[in-house]
Symmetry: C2
Subunit: 311 residues, 2 copies
């Protein structure tokens, strides 16, 4: 029985789990904060792996990490919430420490793999996964294979320009989908309108997408408008993705997706209004993710399984 160590590195939490290679229920599981005063995130990560490593070792370490990275070389180019990790050779450092073959993948890419094998995408061969929370990430499966591209950077669906010269994105450019339809972008829109004097049950200040979603459920007009606006841009981007990839299923993950039915309805209507030919929508399934917070970890498991199957 082969063993897989799956790792999901988030901005606030690092999760590690030990899996039997054919079982999605972990034998061991750890969850720690990514950051602690005066500690190196890599050392914290290594300790969380050590804590679940069986005496006989494991066959592969498979890591899901945010931000652009190179799966071939194992280099993290940049990661939003770990400022020290720039051109960081995470794969090599883990192999050096544990002497176990290590594979690295973008967390949203791997979540797509997770949904494909264990979640909402089971049985589909051409899948598009989009996760919408504090950021927007994506993963594309074509003919049962994860799209990686020449340097492993493909599937950055959150950085499609939907509004030229629009709001500033986390990446430094303007008008990307993430800057218009992520949770913080929805909250920023409401804040902006509140500052202009619009009526709402919300007060200006440190708003979150979650608060706006709750206000929208209570019927707050401005909050509903904010979700409709985000849904419209998301539908526009979705039509673009359909034109590019022509998937048979679209899976929507992340907190924002779960927070508002209005959002999903709007995005469907908007996609229809931007699509060049209705055949792209024929028999297309649009659904929500089923793996929730486990998507990255389960995705890392699947990446590990695929690595073992390669042999």
């Amino acid at each position: 029985m082969a063993h897989i160590i799956a790792v999901d590195i988030g901005g606030t939490q690092i999760r590690t789990a030990l899996f039997d290679s054919n079982d999605a229920n972990p034998r061991q599981h750890r969850r720690i904060a990514t950051h602690a005063e005066g500690e190196d995130p890599f050392e914290r990560l290594a300790a969380a792996i050590e804590a679940i490593l069986p005496p006989q070792g494991a066959d592969v370490i498979s890591v899901a990490a945010p931000g652009p990275l190179d799966p071939q070389s194992g280099i993290v180019f940049a990661t939003p919430n770990i400022p020290g990790w720039v051109e960081f050779p995470l794969g090599a450092k883990l192999e050096q420490r544990f002497h176990i073959p290590t594979r690295l993948g973008n967390d949203a890419n791997l979540a797509a793999l997770g949904e494909w094998r264990y979640g909402a995408g089971q049985g589909y061969h051409d899948l598009l996964y989009l996760t919408i929370s504090t950021g927007i990430g994506g993963g594309v499966i074509i003919n049962d294979r994860l799209l990686l591209g020449a340097r492993g950077l493909a599937g950055e669906l959150g950085h499609i320009t939907v509004l030229p010269d629009g709001p500033l994105c986390s990446c430094g450019q303007r008008g990307h989908l993430e800057a218009v339809a992520s949770g913080p972008a929805i909250a920023a829109y409401v804040n902006e309108k509140l500052a202009e004097g619009r009526a709402s049950i919300l007060q200006p200040g440190h708003l979150t997408g979650r608060q706006v979603a709750e206000a929208a459920r209570q019927g707050d007009e401005l909050s509903r408008e904010a979700f409709v606006r985000a849904g419209e841009y998301l539908g526009q981007a979705l039509a673009d993705f359909l034109h590019m990839f022509n998937p048979s299923i679209v899976i929507l993950g992340g907190g924002v997706t779960q927070s508002s039915a209005l959002f999903i309805e709007t995005l469907k209507v908007s996609a229809r209004r931007h699509i060049m030919d209705q055949n792209f929508l024929k028999d297309l399934v649009i659904t929500t993710a089923t793996l929730g917070d486990n998507a990255g970890l389960i995705g890392a498991l699947v990446q590990g399984q695929l690595k073992l199957e390669e042999k």
Copy 2:
């Protein structure tokens, strides 16, 4: 020696050619007008195939056609310049007529295959091809395989929305790349500005992209501005495509691409301004197509070769 009949169906011309399966120089070649008073385009196509069909027959007929179509079922959903071809079973009709296995592909998709095997893309595994003329089409090769998608509709790169609520596109929607950066779109922009009273060496009326390119070369300010504007939107779309596919080479075909160096320079600067991470541009080759008008026909040849290699 296997024989391939390659067909390229354009709005104004139909081309047919007989190839030995491993040779890109045709043994026979025909070129006829697509339309003739009182004649059925399918019958004209069949006659152009008959004219080059050797006595012993051929192993495959491989057809490049414009517009959304389903390569699996051989159905053309719609084709811009042949109004009667709606949900048209072109593949089945050709097989019925000639009793030869027939394969259908989108012309821009196949041009990508042509450039990959015989043109500017030789030796590259992850290729993005974009053709810009009266329309904008595309083709994407991932890991040496043409991206088709679930229903064969993938790679419609000209229908990405670059300007929400922008000009009307040939497909009926608004603000697509084709509606902003194709030859007719560039000419329409100049016409619009002329109508507003802008100075130019051009006169308002039936302008073409070619005329605007010539005026730009002569230093006409408005014409230069029109190409810069188109190049900026194209660069924005190119950044989107890089985020999606992360290719190692981008090949630009079509008359508009050839017509203005200004256009290519502008699109490179614009892509850089929209890209989320400079690693997408590292070692990326951006170049022009080398197969010219033969791209569709040579692409059909390659599709035929791949069909034979499958066996």
